[in-house]
Symmetry: C2
């Protein structure tokens, strides 16, 4: 049976890594981008659309008639994304997209959720269906609302199946230059100091290529509902930035403890990956060391950092 996937956010941080995985699994890939000139030689069919335009979701769905939908597009400007009104606009656009996909009788949709949906005051190791959903940010709230509404909407007969991948922390090539790993790597590679917090916060990091592989594995499975997308390995932020520092050869410029930790930052935020591992059968390809090395190499070869970065 033909598998034809509509991929949104296809030139974004995760989406760009998803194209090859989708092709590997036999999908005909229809990729959406706002860019005038889509990437060449990807093996995907590119469709230019701004999903925030109210008529775009339906138009692109009717044009491509996908059996599958992998919806990764969202507003992702570092810092600003937590509270921006753009979250509300993306919620509206996503609802329109998921309605359009239902209207053409799509088979299966997978949407990018976030660990920020969980109640961070009790976070620790987060488990789907057990850790309470109680987002404290507009970003987390809009994602949680999209999930709750779509799950109920798609529960009716003849609707597409829905799975919801909750992303934890990630890093890799092409990341926005102002994120944790990218900003530290860039500073050190340029010989600048990199002030960090004490770094004892425990997080769950997964290499962007593995995040994309996990989403595609989830899409290609029969699993429904929320699934954490993470490594399952509790890792201190200090450990991550120290690996970055070693890979750059400038560990002397890493300044742990130079910045205060925000009072409301959770001490620990880690994915329970039982569903991802046992029900989807996903295991990461890359260790943290390998992923960090590859990422630092990418920044080293991208002539100064920001130059090669192109927003999704």
């Amino acid at each position: 049976m033909t598998k034809r996937v509509l991929l949104t956010g296809a030139t974004g941080f995760i989406g760009r890594q998803a194209v090859a995985s989708l092709l590997d699994r036999g999908y005909e890939v229809h990729a959406v981008t706002t860019r005038a000139e889509p990437p060449a030689g990807t093996g995907a069919s590119w469709h230019r659309a701004d999903l925030l335009d109210p008529s775009a979701p339906r138009a692109v769905v009717e044009q491509t008639e996908p059996t599958h939908l992998l919806h990764l597009a969202w507003y992702a400007e570092p810092g600003a994304f937590w509270t921006s009104e753009a979250n509300v606009r993306w919620l509206e656009a996503s609802l329109r997209l998921l309605r359009a996909f239902a209207a053409i009788r799509g088979r299966r949709a997978v949407v990018a959720g976030t660990s920020a949906e969980y109640d961070w005051s009790v976070a620790g190791v987060c488990r789907e269906g057990v850790t309470p959903v109680a987002p404290r940010t507009l970003y987390g709230q809009c994602k949680a609302a999209l999930h709750a509404v779509t799950e109920r909407f798609y529960a009716a007969p003849k609707m597409p199946a829905l799975a919801w991948g909750r992303v934890f922390f990630l890093y890799g090539p092409h990341e926005h230059p102002d994120r944790l790993v990218s900003s530290v790597a860039r500073a050190l590679l340029q010989g600048h100091p990199a002030p960090c917090s004490h770094g004892r916060q425990v997080r769950d990091f997964l290499y962007s290529v593995d995040v994309a592989r996990a989403f595609v594995a989830l899409l290609d499975s029969d699993v429904k509902g929320a699934v954490n997308i993470g490594s399952g390995t509790p890792t201190m932020i200090a450990e991550v930035v120290q690996l970055v520092a070693e890979a750059t050869g400038r560990a002397d410029l890493l300044q742990l403890g130079a910045i205060p930790v925000r009072a409301d930052e959770p001490a620990e935020l880690v994915a329970n990956v039982k569903r991802l591992r046992d029900e989807i059968g996903f295991v990461p390809h890359f260790t943290l060391e390998e992923g960090i090395l590859a990422t630092v190499d990418w920044w080293r070869n991208s002539s100064g950092g920001a130059a090669r970065f192109v927003s999704g």
Copy 2:
């Protein structure tokens, strides 16, 4: 200071009763309707718009520049409204409307929520902030999502204040003819039998005129957050339909116990009205007996019932 309110759903079951209350409290009323010919002699300025048209919310907000927003419009077809996709479309439209209202620096918004946001498996007497929000229907879920997202969105600096009125059960003139009180009144007035369930379910009924008055009182207050809109009086459904039967003079045609109760119907669903009574200072004008008498009179004078019914 001028109070200029944009009223949506202004020809609907509650909205039509809200116009006079708003004028009483000194509001300049801008009322939205999809009708080609708005009601005459209401004292409101009427604006024709279909809020489901993506460009309409912003257009009508920019045209009227309201300081206040009372958003009552939603899909309300009896039976169908619980699960209809129209709920998702109204969620999108409402988010667009609330974004537009924020963009013009509106002062205060009040939106119609529902008792169906509460977890009906633990319902009983529902209290804001205490009874869990866990809707089991798409209608309840879309309303709950709109509330959660807007509350977070408006929590930012310089945003409008938000209050959220959770409506329980209501009845009155102009109700859709297929609802509980309207359908029983119409059947008995026409000399037809009215089969009902045993009627021992306990609910909270408020006359539509009082519901509208409560919304306007909430709008005119400084209270934020969720506020139950109900009578606070636990009332068996049997009691309500018996009052209807007495008012029609055809109690002989009322058939209690003729229809099974749905297995998942909550035994009791009543509003705790402490916030509404003590913080807003609202008390109903109409007793249940008075409201039912007025409603049956209205149906008696509306030549057969459905003829005079005009959808909102």
